[in-house]
Symmetry: C2
Subunit: 384 residues, 2 copies
């Protein structure tokens, strides 16, 4: 880690914002920091809840894209394996020693299918399908590489994105998978993505009840035709307690629970209060770089270090401040009491954690205001 270090404490060439042992105050800004105590509590909380519910966790690595975090989720967080969204992410995770990976997505391009089939010789690989021709292509590739791909039929349970309709359409694809050498029918993928961020508890529950009903009917239909669903998968941080209690889902794909973000904290519980079972552990570490007006300050964290798709970031632990405007490399912070000075440091809670992490090369792990670890965002930018 010390090779190439210059006197400022930054390692040239690798874009590393900190060194182990450094004070948080000296970490370069803007950068992505994890408060490790909060992170570890989040991991333990979900592990314990899912153990109590008797369902598996297959943690979604699309949130963090980090081999180190995936390993931690498996070793300490009760995860049976991980999910990825892209073949390139799966390649990184398998290279990093993760041996049970579900592509919770379709893989239809012939080059990508080939890469996925090749991976199946090195790790357990599962993939979702919603097209008959795709089943043929996956089988051909699996046989070419003497591998085996476990396939889940993805059904659309209300998100309106990928997946066939529940019921007979799903049965037809499941039967096709079951008939193909090189493939194994593994179950149903029934993720209700659009329900995760519904604010109202009752509306969110209703969306998942509807998804669970469609899933249950499909699982029964398949069973009547001799096809058992070893895996019935779905759920995310915003709704997992409904799926876990449904009696039909048995594998949860939560991702954001490790970090949380400003948008997830707008999701409400049964009493219309923000849900507090998971804590903010992920922050943009930023500093004030211009202070020419009494009521405003400008920080160095803009669009290129956090995603705005789910709104502006929130200044953590500072009720006196509000992040009000974001441009490429700047954030304008309302400072009505004129509390901020040049070079002051702030923690920002990003609006949406997944695409924010994908902008950074490193996580800086912090405990008691010191840098304890540096984890690369191993699959950052691995989009294909």
């Amino acid at each position: 880690m010390r090779t190439g270090t210059n006197p400022t404490g930054l390692v040239a060439g690798f874009n590393i914002p900190a060194e182990i042992g450094m004070d948080l105050a000296d970490v370069a800004t803007p950068s992505l920091i994890i408060e490790l105590d909060a992170f570890e509590r989040n991991v333990a909380t979900l592990r314990d809840r899912l153990a109590d519910a008797g369902v598996r966790l297959r943690a979604h690595s699309k949130t963090h894209k980090s081999v180190d975090i995936a390993r931690y989720q498996i070793e300490h967080g009760g995860a049976c394996g991980i999910c990825c969204q892209k073949v390139a992410e799966a390649e990184v995770m398998v290279a990093g020693g993760i041996d049970d990976v579900m592509l919770s997505n379709q893989v239809v391009d012939r080059h990508k299918i080939d890469r996925l089939a090749r991976l199946s010789g090195r790790a357990r690989i599962l993939v979702c399908v919603d097209d008959h021709g795709n089943v043929d292509d996956l089988a051909t590739a699996a046989m070419r590489h003497h591998g085996m791909l476990e396939c889940l039929v993805e059904i659309d349970v209300g998100a309106g994105r990928c997946g066939v309709q529940p019921g007979p359409d799903a049965l037809a694809i499941a039967q096709k998978i079951d008939s193909c050498e090189g493939l194994k029918f593994a179950g149903i993928q029934a993720y209700q993505g659009s329900a995760q961020h519904i604010r109202s508890y009752t509306e969110r529950r209703s969306a998942i009840e509807s998804a669970a009903d469609m899933t249950s009917a499909t699982v029964s239909l398949l069973s009547e035709h001799g096809l058992d669903c070893a895996i019935v998968a779905g759920a995310g941080t915003g709704s997992y307690y409904f799926e876990a209690a449904s009696g039909i889902y048995n594998e949860m794909q939560c991702g954001s629970y490790i970090f949380m973000d400003a948008d997830y904290q707008r999701v409400l519980d049964e009493q219309d209060r923000p849900i507090v079972e998971f804590e903010n552990s992920l922050f943009i570490w930023t500093s004030i770089m211009s202070k020419t007006r009494a009521d405003k300050a400008v920080c160095d964290a803009g669009l290129k270090v956090m995603s705005l798709d789910s709104g502006l970031p929130v200044v953590f632990g500072r009720d006196d401040l509000e992040y009000i405007e974001c441009s490429d490399e700047h954030g304008v912070i309302a400072d009505p009491q004129n509390n901020l000075c040049l070079n002051d440091r702030l923690k920002l809670v990003p609006g949406h954690c997944d695409p924010t992490c994908n902008l950074h090369d490193w996580y800086v792990g912090i405990r008691n205001d010191r840098v304890e670890c540096l984890w690369p965002v191993s699959a950052r930018g691995r989009a294909f």
Copy 2:
């Protein structure tokens, strides 16, 4: 380039989506492609217009973050040098051989000031200031490294972000710079960033006229006190023709003109028509990965390969299609005529080019539907 190549044509480990000579159809999706003919025409167009106007171009590298493109702008595009927003970007550009770099931004952290002063021994370095204490810090660092930093006073000409007020406040900082060993007073930075995307031609012109008036008064005041502004800098792709004609600005900082994006094409000319002097040359290359409904399709390009801060992408050259919904790794495309099939390829014009480029590791340069070059996004993620 061939080391580590697997049979699919992708180079493992470097996240490269293509190989030189490959057909566009075989380039991995989603990825970032440049249509080189359009790109080169854009570069030549601005070069010729600014030459006619008798003002300099200092191209803004925050758009592309590419040493290759910066070099091209200097060698073929009439640029006298480049702008950067971050010290880490400047380090990458100087390492790549660019020898005239303006930090069009404040640098106030002591580690960053040290790195910037060090760079000034290897290249001409200019930096913007809006704080008296910062002037002292820059001077101390420049002397420590036996370098020289050219400083511009940034004035706020309406954008409401960084910069001191025009007039006496600017004069005071300019005098301070002029009195410091290790620094050289270089002029005024007067960028009206918030005017760039004003749709109406007359409102945009009015914003720049106001900025030019404030700038002119400040330049005159400084001149009365014996301080000549060698550089009066500002302007962007959305307004440069106003600054270039103002008689006061002499250095233009356009960035997006090389690529354009969906938002810049909503900026209107005098007759309320979209401005067409620059063409779309930058696209997200995407493919259809799920097609289970007649009227919709799902592509593989979502939030992690393009920034949504300025709206959804536009499907290029396809009036029959509309990109209507974006999630982390998916885009839903309305396909009312059911024209799309699995694995069809599309070009998307991103809403905002700068933060979109910052998501990718490589530009794939295309001419006549073949890959002609691969340019790394050299300063991607260099945020500090």
